[in-house]
């Protein structure tokens, strides 16, 4: 049930802005099910060839998002990781380094709370929080709705922090320009082997919290090798969002993606 208006929207996604406790928009609850309330005569069965991609609807909407972003020259990065890898801290450290060059807007995805959006809001950039409820990932429709609300300016950056989850978000194209997967040295170095789909479809892997390397048994080179075994095109950078180490290379990578816009 929606915790604000009490509507029984179940696990439907909700869109919120920090500082706006009352207003929120439910996403995708137009009752997409065709209800069966008629009696039918039970005659002969008919087999109908369909041959349709199950994710067709999401993929079409993702392409529509992509077209909109391309037309407005918006560089869109989809940030993916397990919970607690430091995505929000990374954004908090990255945005001040880039926002004087181009406007930045942010979409935050979490099951509940506006905590992450409030951290981004404190940086003075427009942000929308999508609460997915019981949902485990953002999809193209949620991003579509959030973008209509955010209205990112031309020649800007849009950072999408996906729900912390290395499984489900891998399947859902949002229309992003690139996917950035974040892992931290407090996780297992075999994460790329355990969650290969996520790493296979990523463009860049950021190894975060490298300031903790002296205190943990994490072999960064082995992790990199595992990631490359799963995706030989994957780019790799080692950073510490906390100390700022590697953020120069990281922001250079972001700027390098502007060449395609």
């Amino acid at each position: 049930m929606c915790d604000k208006c009490g509507c029984s929207s179940g696990g439907g996604a909700v869109m919120r802005r920090p500082g706006n406790d009352t207003g929120h928009v439910h996403i995708g609850e137009d009752g997409s099910h065709a209800h069966h309330d008629r009696d039918h005569e039970h005659g002969q069965s008919r087999k109908i060839e369909v041959e349709q991609d199950v994710l067709l609807k999401n993929n079409l909407l993702a392409e529509r998002n992509r077209g909109y972003f391309d037309a407005k020259h918006v560089l869109v990065l989809n940030f993916l990781s397990s919970p607690g890898s430091g995505k929000t801290t990374l954004l908090e450290k990255t945005i001040p380094l880039l926002k004087d060059e181009r406007p930045v807007t942010v979409i935050e995805g979490d099951q509940q709370t506006t905590n992450d959006a409030e951290r981004i809001d404190a940086l003075g950039v427009p942000v929308i929080q999508i609460n997915t409820g019981t949902g485990c990932h953002l999809d193209a429709e949620m991003v579509h709705r959030a973008v209509r609300e955010l209205d990112p300016p031309e020649h800007s950056f849009l950072f999408i922090e996906n729900v912390g989850n290395l499984v489900c978000p891998a399947m859902f194209d949002l229309g992003e320009s690139a996917r950035v997967v974040v892992i931290s040295v407090t996780e297992g170095e075999d994460k790329p082997l355990k969650y290969p789909t996520m790493f296979r479809h990523a463009d860049l892997c950021l190894l975060n919290k490298t300031d903790l390397l002296p205190y943990v048994d994490f072999d960064a080179e082995r992790c990199r090798q595992y990631a490359l075994q799963v995706n030989h095109r994957l780019q790799w950078l080692e950073i510490s969002a906390k100390t700022g180490k590697g953020l120069d290379q990281w922001t250079a990578w972001v700027r390098s993606r502007l060449a395609g816009l």
């Binding site: 399947m171 859902f172 296979r200």
Partner: protein, 113 residues
């Protein structure tokens, strides 16, 4: 549990099509799922009963055709079967390959009354 939203997408597409075909009850849904599609078949089946409740596709039988994945080596162009993204070319032992098939996930057909 993205299987729930996957199941809802399938039911949505199936019932839309069934309505276009006259609105008869759906008795069977045939799916083709590649081994690399990232879908847990057990939980997908589990989600269908909830996702289809009250729709034309309630009680439809779900027939799943699993498709094996095939890759092509970037270095020596050999084609070989793969079970996951962690695979090596059996000819040159390289890790670099492109996936030729096995990521597909489609609705093949529906049967309506």
């Amino acid at each position: 549990m993205h299987e729930m939203s996957i199941a809802l997408s399938v039911i949505d597409a199936v019932t839309t099509r069934a309505l276009q075909e006259g609105g008869g009850r759906v008795t069977e849904i045939e799916l083709a799922i590649g081994s690399l599609a990232g879908v847990q078949l057990e939980s997908l089946r589990f989600c269908f009963s909830a996702a289809s409740r009250g729709t034309l596709a309630e009680h439809a039988e779900i027939v799943i055709h699993e498709r094996h994945a095939e890759a092509q080596c970037v270095d020596c162009s050999s084609r070989f079967a793969i079970g996951s993204y962690l695979a090596r070319c059996p000819v040159c032992a390289g890790y670099r390959f492109t996936v030729v098939s096995g990521e597909e996930f489609s609705i093949q057909s529906i049967t309506i009354e």
